[in-house]
Symmetry: C2
C-alpha cells in the first residue's frame, strides 16, 4: 500500500507521515522495487494509533511512550492508565485556565455598551488590572 492510501486510511497527511518516520516515531515501512514506501497493515495500525492519540491531545513524546507500551508484551496496564490520567490532569488544568479567561472576558464585555461611543471599560480595565498570578 502506498503512502497516499495509508494517509487517507490513517487520517493523516503524507508529509506528516514522513515527518513521523523521520523523528523515529513510527517504523519505516518496506520499499517496493520502485523505491516507493510499501505499507503493511500493521504500519497502518501504528499510524492510526498515532493519529488517534494526537486527536486526543497527546504530544508526540507522550505518543512515543504509548507506542512503546503498546509494543511491550510485558507492560502493565497501570503504566498506560497513569499516562492517560496525567494527560487528563493537564487537560483539566487547561480547561480551568480557559474558563477563568472566559469569565473575565464575559464580565468585561457585559460592561461594554458596544456602541459608537469611545468609552470602553474593557480597555480601561486592561491597562489597570494587575496581572493575576
Amino acid at each position: 500500500m502506498n503512502i497516499g492510501e495509508v494517509a487517507k486510511r490513517a487520517g493523516l497527511n503524507s508529509r506528516t507521515i514522513r515527518f513521523y518516520e523521520s523523528i523515529g516515531l513510527v517504523s519505516q515501512p518496506d520499499r517496493a522495487r520502485s523505491g516507493y514506501r510499501d505499507y503493511a497493515e500493521k504500519d497502518v495500525h501504528q499510524l492510526r494509533f498515532v493519529a488517534s492519540a494526537r486527536a486526543l491531545g497527546f504530544s508526540v513524546e507522550e505518543i512515543r511512550q504509548l507506542l512503546a507500551l503498546y509494543d511491550d508484551r510485558a507492560r502493565s496496564s497501570s503504566d498506560v492508565k497513569r499516562l492517560v490520567l496525567h494527560h487528563v490532569e493537564e487537560i483539566d488544568r487547561k480547561l480551568q485556565e480557559l474558563a477563568a479567561m472566559r469569565r473575565t472576558l464575559m464580565h468585561l464585555a457585559e460592561r461594554c455598551h458596544g456602541d459608537q461611543r469611545p468609552e470602553c471599560p474593557i480597555l480601561d480595565e486592561l491597562s489597570l488590572v494587575k496581572r493575576q498570578q
Copy 2:
C-alpha cells in the same frame, strides 16, 4: 525607570519587553544618558495592558489591534467588544474540544484495570478507533 523595574511592575520578563519593542507592539521608551531605556508611567501602562491581554489569551496581533483602539480617541466601543467576543468564541471552541478529549480519555481510563496485567483497552482502542472529524 529602568527595564528591570518596569518588568516587575508589568509582570513581564525584560527580554519579553525588548521582544515586544522589537516587533513594534509597544512604543520605544526614552533613553537615559547611559543608553539605558528610561520608561515613563505611560509606558508601564502600555506594558501592563499587554501583559493583561496576554494573560487573557489574546494573541500578539490581537493585542496590537486592542492597543490601536486604546490609542484611538475616535474608536467605537463596539469594535472593542467585537474583538473580545470573537476571542470568547475561540475560547469556547477550545473548551469544547478539550471537554470532548477529556470525555473520551476518561471513558478509556475507566475501562482499564490499571494493574500489573498487560491487557489494556486504551491501547486497543487507540489502534482501532477511526479518527473523529
